[in-house]
């Protein structure tokens, strides 16, 4: 009875050591890092939906040249994802938003907005902002 217990415990220990041995000497996926390399390739090849302001300037340099107020804001902050527009180059492929809400998203007077100029909701109610203010000026 006693010898049987010893043999069982030894067998168990042997299994545990074997598992540890295989993990330590290169069978572990973390040490081999094979799946990580494949995933890095997949992650790197994902589609970019946002472009870059440098690419916008290739065609729209004139719009950008005299800009003062929004000169540090990237084009896609207001116009949305521009990858499709860089390929199709048509007016429908980019978002041109003229509503009040598009401006008030940033310029509405709520607490905590001290770094930019803000206006109240009652400022010339019912008139589009772009009637008086040119965002590309």
């Amino acid at each position: 009875m006693k010898s049987k217990t010893i043999i069982l415990s030894l067998a168990f220990a042997a299994i545990v050591y074997l598992v540890l041995f295989t993990y330590v000497f290169g069978v572990s996926p973390y040490i081999k890092q094979e799946s990580m390399a494949t995933w890095l390739a997949i992650e790197g090849s994902k589609e970019q939906k946002y472009s870059d302001t440098k690419i916008c300037l290739e065609c729209h340099y004139d719009t950008y040249k005299g800009m003062k107020n929004h000169s540090s804001v990237n084009c896609e902050a207001c116009h949305g994802s521009g990858k499709e527009h860089t390929l199709r180059r048509s007016e429908e492929s980019i978002k041109i938003e003229r509503s009040r809400n598009a401006c008030l998203k940033c310029h509405l007077d709520i607490p905590g907005r001290s770094v930019i100029d803000t206006v109240n909701e009652s400022h010339n109610q019912g008139i589009l902002c772009v009637v008086c203010h040119n965002p590309h000026e």
Partner: protein, 244 residues
């Protein structure tokens, strides 16, 4: 061989060895890049552009309250900070901006953009049972979605709540610093669309980069330093007694 030639040869060899060593070291220094994001709380206006851009870029549904990056708006009673000081907190994690029509109770209001902190000692990497999470050589923490089994250990382990189960892919998802963009030298989508420049991204080891300058000139802090995670997202002007 004469003794003189032998000595000459030995000296030459030692010199060449030292030179090669120095060149190797220089190359190592050049290849070593370490990405960080610096967020200036004073500049954030809570417009929510980053949340929408991140969701569009990384195929996370716009209408669900799960996001790779989100904004927390805080309104605080202006008194000395105590355990009883009153704090109102509103979170934006969908394409609807709740800050615009919220009634803020207290005049001191600020916005804190949050995202995965890409910890140097990441709890999510440590707990993953299938080794699906790993560090890249630039320090970005990534999820291998082919290996991930969706057991959600990482969601429990993350002290920042930055990881979530993607409802369509059925595996865990989190910020990758837009790895598919930064490898081409572009900025992450949230940094690109930030109108005030509150978010700045770059290589901290590159001495000409903007993040290097910002960290040098400002006092920066991280979220939950007591967790020992060593985050790569650094904050300027954070009221750390309020923000958790």
């Amino acid at each position: 061989m004469k003794r003189r030639d032998f000595i000459k040869g030995v000296i030459g060899l030692i010199f060449a060895f030292q030179m090669s060593k120095a060149i190797c070291k220089e190359n190592e220094k050049k290849s070593e890049s370490s990405f960080v994001m610096v967020i200036d709380i004073n500049k954030c206006i809570g417009c929510g552009n980053c949340v929408i851009a991140c969701k569009t870029e990384n195929e996370v549904p716009l209408d669900i309250p799960l996001a790779r990056t989100w904004i927390e708006g805080y309104s605080v009673e202006e008194r000395i900070p105590t355990f009883e000081s009153k704090v109102q907190k509103i979170v934006m994690n969908t394409d609807k901006n709740p800050f615009l029509d919220a009634d803020w109770k207290y005049p001191k209001t600020f916005f804190v953009p949050k995202l995965c902190n890409h910890c140097a000692n990441a709890p999510c990497v440590n707990v993953c049972p299938v080794y699906a999470r790993f560090y890249t050589k630039e320090g970005v923490v990534l999820v291998d979605k082919e290996t991930c089994i969706g057991c959600k250990y990482c969601i429990v382990a993350c002290p920042y709540g930055a990881t979530f189960l993607h409802p369509e892919q059925k595996v865990t998802d989190k910020c990758t610093f837009c790895y598919h963009r930064i490898k081409d030298g572009l900025e992450p989508a949230c940094v690109l669309v930030c109108p005030t420049g509150a978010r700045v991204f770059g290589d901290v080891n590159d001495e000409g980069s903007e993040v290097h300058k910002l960290i040098k000139e400002n006092k920066v802090t991280v979220l939950k330093p007591e967790e020992g995670t060593f985050p790569r997202v650094l904050y300027i002007g954070l009221d750390s007694y309020i923000v958790e």
